[in-house]
Amino acid sequence: MRSLQLLVLSLFALPPIAGLLLLILPKVLGRIVTILSVVALSAISVYLFVNFDKPFQILIPGYSDKAVMIADVLLLAYFAFIAIKRKSVLVGLLTIGQAIALGYLIKLLGNHEGGIHAQFYVDRLSLFMFLLINIVSGIIATYSLQYIDEEDCSPYRKKFFMFTMLWFIGVMNLVVSADNLEYFFLFFELTTLASYIFISFRKDKESVTNALRALWMNQIGGIAILGAMIFSLSTIGYETLSFQTLVTSAHTVGLLLPLALLAVAALIKGAQMPFSSWLLGAMVAPTPVSALLHSSTMVKIAPFIILRLAPAIKGTHLSLAIIALTGFVFLAAAISALAQDNFKRILAFSTVSLLGLMILMAAIGTQTAIVTSLILILFHGISKCMLFLNAGVLEKKFHLKSALDMDKLAESGPFTSFIVCIGFISLMLPPFGAFIGKWFSIEILGSTLRETRGLTALVMLAIACGGAVLSLLYFKVMGLLIARSGEKDKVTFETTHPLYNINLVLLLSLILAGVICLPFLLIGYFGPVASDVLGSAVAVDVQSNFSISIGNMSFPVIPMILAFLVLPVSLFISLFVRFKKVDRVKEYACGEKIDYKFNSFYFDTEFLLPYFKAVGLVFFALIIILTVI
């Protein structure tokens, strides 16, 4: 037990230390240190997951509470500095708001004579997030070693970028294991700071504007957390700052306002409409940043918080409001994405959309829903990471940003276009993990219809339509970049830098391994994690007819194996297969031999975005109003 605690602490400490070393060491040594530390982090998180038996707390001596408080104040001071430096009124006002709330909180804490709470609580959910954060972000960190090297900026800034990335990984590890809300607030605000630093990295006007937007939006989340702490301290029954106590005592107290405020913070971090624009603005930063924010770390705080809250809010009005919001966002973001041409913007909208689905599943809170949410978090993380890293390759090697220009990609970069294909397909089709999430979510919503008397029927409709819209979106993009003329029958892969290649191949094999191991993962991985989330055992059993039952759902294995053989395997083969004895002809174009430029259908849905945001705002208000009533 003690060794496990130490290992968890090493997860917190190792990334910042490696980052500091990186600042000092020369380039090559820095690279080695980064790669070694990333491998160590991944190994530790795997070891932790394997050797874990029951949830434990980590107690840090009491004076660290004071240190956290001082860090909070310093952070706010820095925000105020940014506000003055960039002349941003909004950031300034929100910082003042945060400062007032923080001051009130400190006063409350002075009056409050609570017992000593453990600051950290590590259960399987934390370990699940550790795995995702450390492995996927580790891959991103290795990748960005090369990427940032090709960036046009001073060597110091390059090192600073890597340093920020590494300490950010450390902060993410802290976020998912913090139990004391005070600590949680600090780490939450640190991630906000990291997003500000990342987004404003390129220093041009657009970057700074977007970074400030990210800052103030996430500051609202910070205020919500402060509010949650204040309410939780002043509500009779809670009087606690511990996340766990808050969740477990919610049923007896009945007032859900602190939980609702935490959920609001989560939804803002998860870029749900109308707060989606901070995540969309994040694409002005270097591409690894997008990969980091979208896939494994920043936005995944949202489903993580909701998963933590799930046992307390299950079946309440609060969860219904969250379900309504996220179901709406799933559809709205998918529709908005259709109008986009920029590759990264398309990916960003699809992230917002799928995040909605994850949060929705977490908010429903039944056994199967939790498992589905976990499946989505994991596989969406891996697939999105691969897609974003690939977007980086597209930018650096092929100088392509808009999907409309990717006309001849399959000829000049078959491997890159193949990765994009697999990435998109793994988000929508069987047998991939994200598809399983979509499938289960429809069935779960279908099966909860009776209990909610049809209230979730509209949400189910939104999921059904949103799923179809997302497929159309992916087909639209794929159609632009897989066209190859008949003369290029033999595929010769392009050469990219090994640091790019290795990481992409690693992610690709993770996706495929995830498909193959899914039955085992369900039993040995998602099942136990879901049990820890719910606090009660989740029945995941193997049935006689080669299917796995999760709660009241069953996951048939044989069709999945068939689908695996049909889809990913056949896509692989289709790249390499050569029909030797078959003659070639040109494509039919009524006898013409002109080289055509290909395009896709244009969907004019951009004008809907303000309306979507307005509706999203109404849902946010609904979350608060419903809980207050």
Partner: protein, 177 residues
């Protein structure tokens, strides 16, 4: 043994190509498909796609513009295939013969199996021609059929608006296909 060859006769799919005619013959071909003559009872379908058809029905004289398209479409048809010229223009150039924009009959460029006379040819005649063509189709092998001219004759595209590519280099079908 199970002879695949005899099924050629039972499902000939048609590709209709107008090489520059006056649309008289085209209307007659469409009349064949209509309920009165109904060539679908022989299993024929007008596919509109060279890659899936067996019979190439050509109407009209070959103009300078359609020549390369005709050859290209012909080359995209997989063997065994037959070519039927519908009407006098397609067979010889007809009344357009000798005009500045006309290259002549179809048989100058691709091998023709059946000539259907008439201006315009009647639907009965077309059906008759196709039935003759079916007999030829059954005897053909899967050997590649070559186009007649164009192989060595350099082609100069007079109007660069449509096609700027170097056609002679691409059209050496004798070796390429």
């Amino acid at each position: 043994m199970f002879e695949l060859k005899k099924f050629r006769k039972k499902s000939p799919w048609i590709l209709h190509f107008n090489a520059g005619g006056c649309n008289g013959c085209d209307i007659e071909i469409l009349a064949c498909l209509a309920p009165k003559y109904d060539i679908e009872r022989f299993g024929m379908i007008n596919t509109g796609n060279p890659k899936q058809s067996d019979i190439l029905l050509i109407t009209g004289p070959v103009t300078k513009r359609t020549r390369e398209r005709l050859v290209e479409v012909y080359n995209q048809m997989p063997e065994p295939k037959v070519v039927v010229c519908c009407g006098s223009c397609a067979s010889t150039g007809g009344i357009f013969r000798g005009m500045y924009n006309i290259e002549g009959g179809v048989d100058q460029f691709i091998p023709v199996d059946v000539y259907v006379a008439g201006c315009a040819c009647r639907p009965e005649q077309i059906i008759d021609g196709v039935v003759v063509a079916l007999g030829i189709l059954e005897e053909k092998t899967k050997e590649i059929e070559k186009t007649i001219k164009l192989a060595n004759k350099p082609v100069v595209e007079e109007d660069g608006q449509v096609n700027r590519r170097n056609m002679p280099a691409e059209l050496t079908y004798e070796t390429a296909v």
